[in-house]
């Protein structure tokens, strides 16, 4: 039951992200999504709970709920920008696309045979929806920071899938993955900082000198 609640929250935060123009609000949404997803390892495995899942929960909440938003808010302050000006795809159109993607995700996952001991039948479709939403954000937004948020949403989708369905992944692998994502966001943050200093803005549509 609580697993379903988490998944509904993930869907809602994704839709909010697709329809939001303010960077601050978007970062808070991603932070909320990260916190909520942090509870997933424990809640999805209540019957066979082990230290492994508790540690994974704590690590996720710390990274996705606290460290990433802090890094991103810092980048926003450095760059002194508050909102996306003109995205490639408008916010209403983005929302419509999001709802369509949600439908497609459920349709696609209906064809897969799920393992029996799975915590919720919505896990796979919601994970897929997050992946679609993240990809959409990366493609449809101009601000480098919004693209980083898109990457995080995509990553969250994969995480949902991994924790919910492939629970057997060894701890070391999960640790490596978390570390890599952390470094990725860190690197992207530095890149945003450099781009900002060099170009006086962080709109990637002006990154257009290299062609052909």
């Amino acid at each position: 039951m609580t697993t379903n609640l988490i998944l509904v929250l993930v869907v809602l935060t994704n839709l909010k992200l697709l329809g939001s123009s303010r960077l601050g609000a978007s970062i808070r949404m991603v932070a909320l999504q990260g916190m909520v997803l942090g509870l997933l390892p424990v809640l999805a495995h209540l019957q066979n709970l082990s230290v492994h899942f508790v540690l994974l929960s704590l690590g996720t909440i710390a990274l996705k709920g606290i460290v990433f938003p802090w890094l991103l808010f810092r980048a926003v302050r450095e760059a002194e920008v508050a909102r996306e000006i003109e995205p490639y795809v408008g916010y209403v159109a983005s929302l419509v696309a999001g709802v369509l993607a949600l439908g497609v995700s459920f349709g696609m996952c209906a064809r897969l045979t799920m393992p029996e001991n799975i915590a919720s039948p919505w896990l796979a479709p919601v994970a897929l929806f997050s992946i679609f939403a993240g990809l959409f954000l990366i493609v449809a937004r101009k601000r480098a920071l919004n693209q980083v948020l898109g990457f995080l949403v995509l990553e969250n989708g994969i995480y949902t899938f991994g924790v919910g369905i492939v629970a057997e992944t060894p701890f070391l692998v999960e640790l490596g993955v978390l570390l890599d994502v952390f470094v990725a966001v860190f690197v992207m943050g530095i890149a945003v900082y450099h781009i900002n200093r060099e170009f006086d803005h962080i709109e990637t549509d002006r990154l257009d000198r290299l062609k052909g």
């Binding site: 990457f151 890149a191 060099e198």
Partner: protein
Amino acid sequence: MRHETMLWLLILVPAVTGGLTLPLTSAQALLRALCAGVGITVALGWYVAGKVLLSGPVCAGAEWLYLDALSAYNLAVMLLIYGLCSAYAAVYFGVEWQEGRLTLRQARQFASLWCGALAAMTLVFISNNLGIMWVGIEATTLLTGFLICVHVTRESLEAMWKYILICSVGVAFAFMGTLLVGASTHELGLRAPEVLLWTRLHAHAALLNPVWLKAAFIFLLVGYGTKAGLAPMHNWLPDAHSQAPAPVSALFSGLMLNTALYCVMRYVPLVEAGTGNTGWGLRLLVGFGLFSILVAAAFIVFQRDLKRLLAYSSVEHLGIITLGVGLGGLGTFAALFHTLNHSLCKTLAFFAAGRLGQTFGTHDMHRLSGAMRVAPAWGMGLFGSLLALIGVAPFALFMSELQILKAAMDGKAILTLVLFLFGAGVVFVGALGHAIPLAWGKAGPVARPDRIGILESLLVVVPFGLLLVLGLWMPESLQAALNNAADVIRQTGNAFTASAGGMAP
């Protein structure tokens, strides 16, 4: 020394070297230390790879480390190219240091990231756990990102942003694929630490769930394919290759693309066995391979920038390798051979492009004309490598491409054959049109005179000589190694292997 220790050392030595270079206070010392560290790793790696190729797979660290013929061969090629690139980096950045265009900070950044990338790539080849293999690929992406903008300019930042973002998304897809492979093992009842071990999956490949496995392979192919520069996910590649300093471009083309493609190769036998040897996965590979060849051919004709031309040529050659693996049988053998040839040739081409760029102060092919007269050694190296890249006999690339053509004939894949020949033909004409004025045109203005030492001439002669020798004569030990490596990919058999498997030269 025991194999286990050797495998651990392979990761440790470069990582430690990266740390040790940091306190050094001259770029020359930094570069020498870097070469020494890489040299030790190369010696160790070749020793282990040689052992494996002679006497079978090595397993260590509670099955988490594993080296079989396929990974040993790829590791050996990777280390050979890494050694060449490191020596070249010492020359290239040595020149920049003397001219005051390289700060100590940039040199340190370069040295530590360069060593880190070597450790990460080695990790990819020696890990048996598919999750750790993924961690290695992701780590190379992040470490090499900053190598693109050793010199911070607008263009290099743009290239780096595209590289980091596109490849991170691609690699995230690959992780999704890895998880889906994990999900396909549900019916096997493996214990948690064993789920992603390649050896275990390979032993039970026929029992994997085919629907999950197919979904997994699509994600893996798109994900690792992005990193390998297969079209249509290649957009980051020309930018990154053209903006990075030449040693880094050579590293990208000669190693990183292969490393990503190696990951796809790892999954091919699993997917083939899991989907009942119907050739489903192989057909996907053929499709991606052909598409990459054709897209690259179209862009090569209209290039002006030398390094972008070479970048698109990498897309073409990675397409050829993918096509070879997809054709199976003799094609797999030829694809692995082509990996070595392409890496050697492309690093030589980037070496030449980088040094000529320093001499002329540009990479614009119109202004680089007459390179052969201005800088005979590197001009010759560039012209020769361009000829080899477009498939002129008797270089080794011609031989491996011929074998891939033969594999297509054996498989009666006529459309594939025609499209491949068409793409290769367009590249031949297009690149030759660029190469001739480049070598013999009227010499343009020269930014600084060309001086060349013994080490530099060796960097031209060694790859060039190897390409020539391999084109004319293949040593039996190499042939056996290639066959063993190819057997790892195709041992589960497919429609083509039955007819062509025994015909490897």
